[in-house]
Symmetry: C2
Subunit: 463 residues, 2 copies
Amino acid sequence: MIKIKKYCYGTCFLMSIAINILFSIYLYAGGGDKNQEISYRSSLTWSEKAAAEAEAVAAINCSGHGRAFLDGLVWDGQPVCECYACYGGTDCSEMTPGCAADDDSGDPIFLEPFWIQNAADSAVVIPGWHRMSYRFDDNTMMSTELEYYIRKLHSIVGNAITERRYMVFGVGSSQLLSAAVYALSSENSSSPSNVLASIPFYPMYEGQTVFFNSENFKFEGDTNSWQANNSTNHMNAVEFVTSPNNPDGELKKPVLVGKTIYDHAYFWPHFTPIPGPSDHDLMIFTLSKLTGHAGTRFGWAIIKDKDVYEKVSKYIRVADLGIPKDTQLRVLKLLKVAIKEDGKPLFEFAYNKMKERWDRLASVFTKSTRFSIQKRHPLHCMFFNETRLPSPAYAWVKCEREEDEDCGAVLEAGNIKGRSGSTFTEKDRYTRLSLIKNQDDFELLTQRLTELVSTENVSVGTI
Amino acid sequence: MIKIKKYCYGTCFLMSIAINILFSIYLYAGGGDKNQEISYRSSLTWSEKAAAEAEAVAAINCSGHGRAFLDGLVWDGQPVCECYACYGGTDCSEMTPGCAADDDSGDPIFLEPFWIQNAADSAVVIPGWHRMSYRFDDNTMMSTELEYYIRKLHSIVGNAITERRYMVFGVGSSQLLSAAVYALSSENSSSPSNVLASIPFYPMYEGQTVFFNSENFKFEGDTNSWQANNSTNHMNAVEFVTSPNNPDGELKKPVLVGKTIYDHAYFWPHFTPIPGPSDHDLMIFTLSKLTGHAGTRFGWAIIKDKDVYEKVSKYIRVADLGIPKDTQLRVLKLLKVAIKEDGKPLFEFAYNKMKERWDRLASVFTKSTRFSIQKRHPLHCMFFNETRLPSPAYAWVKCEREEDEDCGAVLEAGNIKGRSGSTFTEKDRYTRLSLIKNQDDFELLTQRLTELVSTENVSVGTI
């Protein structure tokens, strides 16, 4: 029955009867294949206003080159379009001439269209009184339901063993990287642990270790250089193993024999074939590179040892008394979509998008002798049950000419902005280009790269 | 117009015309005082399913002694009731006999009824594609809209100067407490800063400082004891000033002349009269004790000095690349409700609740010579424009009898669980009792206290 108003008498009551009779005829006449939806519609009370607001904002026209958000800037009572890079105007329809292709950040917006396609299943309504307590009903700060779905996801994808393992949630994987260093480090200040990674490596490892400046550890840089001077004693080493690696996408293995932190941010079938489930002592994953929700800041650690688990948990508790419950609820909703049909819709969408980008990118680079990108080797993917090439999140570009020592500058002269090799403690002859931003960014990147490569034979050395 | 189906031909089309004609007559006949709502209803598409889910869960009957949540445990396809302490059964209708009154935690559930009353305005719908990027449009990690509403709230309440001040968001005020210590500490490891607070103090200050074990600072405990040995040089001191204080509700002032971190978690008109706006170098606030959303983990710092602001910002960036965008969106929605009618509905609800609890509590304690609670002094409140007694979040109970050295144990024998004085580096002759939990908890507390006090003259020393 369609409930029009809570309090309804006289004319109102008669009208509602008439409407409901007609509605029943309509359903009987076969118009009712959306019964469920219509019956939902009839019963909404307090959530309707928020739902209408969200839909109104989502309907704002930004020409496909921008988006309006519920918490965006408001102009004349309406949230305004936030235009993607290189687009402007109130409806983002104006392209900025000569705008640089900005492929610096690892913003995973390439997955945004998937979530728009799955709008109904991925939306979440948070009531004003949702989870006001510090703790869940079982006295923890982590949602049991969410933990269950994460374990289920890993079992579907086959990228990590989670049976008989502990789990800890963090504010992004970022927080867990730091928590892991604390958990694995020496408790004796007089012999602090040595924190290491293999060049090229994600700069956050060094950034955090140096910033927190604990008496329990110190950053020692590259594993290979360090090993040369410390060939025997690795017991006090804590090594980051980033697999696939950021920036170059390689499936890395530890160099040392000390403790390891496996950063598996990119260990998903759209970036790499999954050769089998990872089964290490401490593995860290993030929602960001799985579903594309970097802004949600949610990561998790899978931990074998109880003592390490307790230390990582303590870090999260001491740092900020747990992860926002709102975030946990949203992640739960997103993961319910992610595991639908055994993950096929999400991972096929994501893989196809990455493959298409790599195919186009590779065809540009084959025409070049000045620039090269990382070699990719086919591997059998247990998830797709097929041998495939990896399609990493980043192109790791090398400038091959001797004089092009600063590859970032060479690309910038071609109106392309990347992230310099030295950011990853590598030579500046390398530059990282992000392939996971939105479609406009990728189109501009290929256009600029094509232009740059096309000048190679015509005007060697003039760019 | 009521839109029944996206694709609608033949009978369906005729029926929808008929329904819409009747609907127009209904509106014309004066049934349309909810026009806005009905027009919303007609246009919902992708958000409806999530809205219906949320309403269905909210409608689950938990007898007023529990609540079902969207991310709660699921039984037979339905989220189950999570019962408050001392209640059980599938609908939480069964009271556990002899159950202890648990008044240990600072869970601010006393505000839950306010948000249920304001359900329509405080609900938020998060679309699947909401803010996937690490950053907002202005390249920051903080919502400009949210910052605007926080400043507006302070200006309405009159509890802090925010003009020409910087702001940083954190995962709860917890994270900002630690960020502030890092920001104010010595950059020279050979002379680390001394971090201090005045007894009784919130244990997190010590917990964090010791845990992070930085070379830049060390925890030195109580300001008064430390001052006795360091009467002249306070330049390297970082003092926490908790005002109102947790546990005793006092409006504190610094003891030393070094750098200060003002923890203003409880500086809201429901806990204390607001004598005027706070105007210190570094002030920290939290949503938790303002709106009751502890589970949301959201806090903010207001900072005078640019250099300090940049250091606090850097801490947040390095620790976890910013605060979840989902959380920021929800907080925005809650604060829009908080500032309605110049904050009157929220703060009157909250103050009345706290005042009623204090009146009842005080009347129990006036009958006791064995137990006392903190003295409260009337002050003029700029917000309510009236002289009022404070109504702190906690009762700071002292056991007056010489033999009652462990006040927690005395209360526990009376079936009341508090937080021991030693948790706050005070003697165990004191115990903190939380007055901000839900109504059931408070009712049980007063009942148990009344019983305990009533035995004083009958059976001195036997409890």
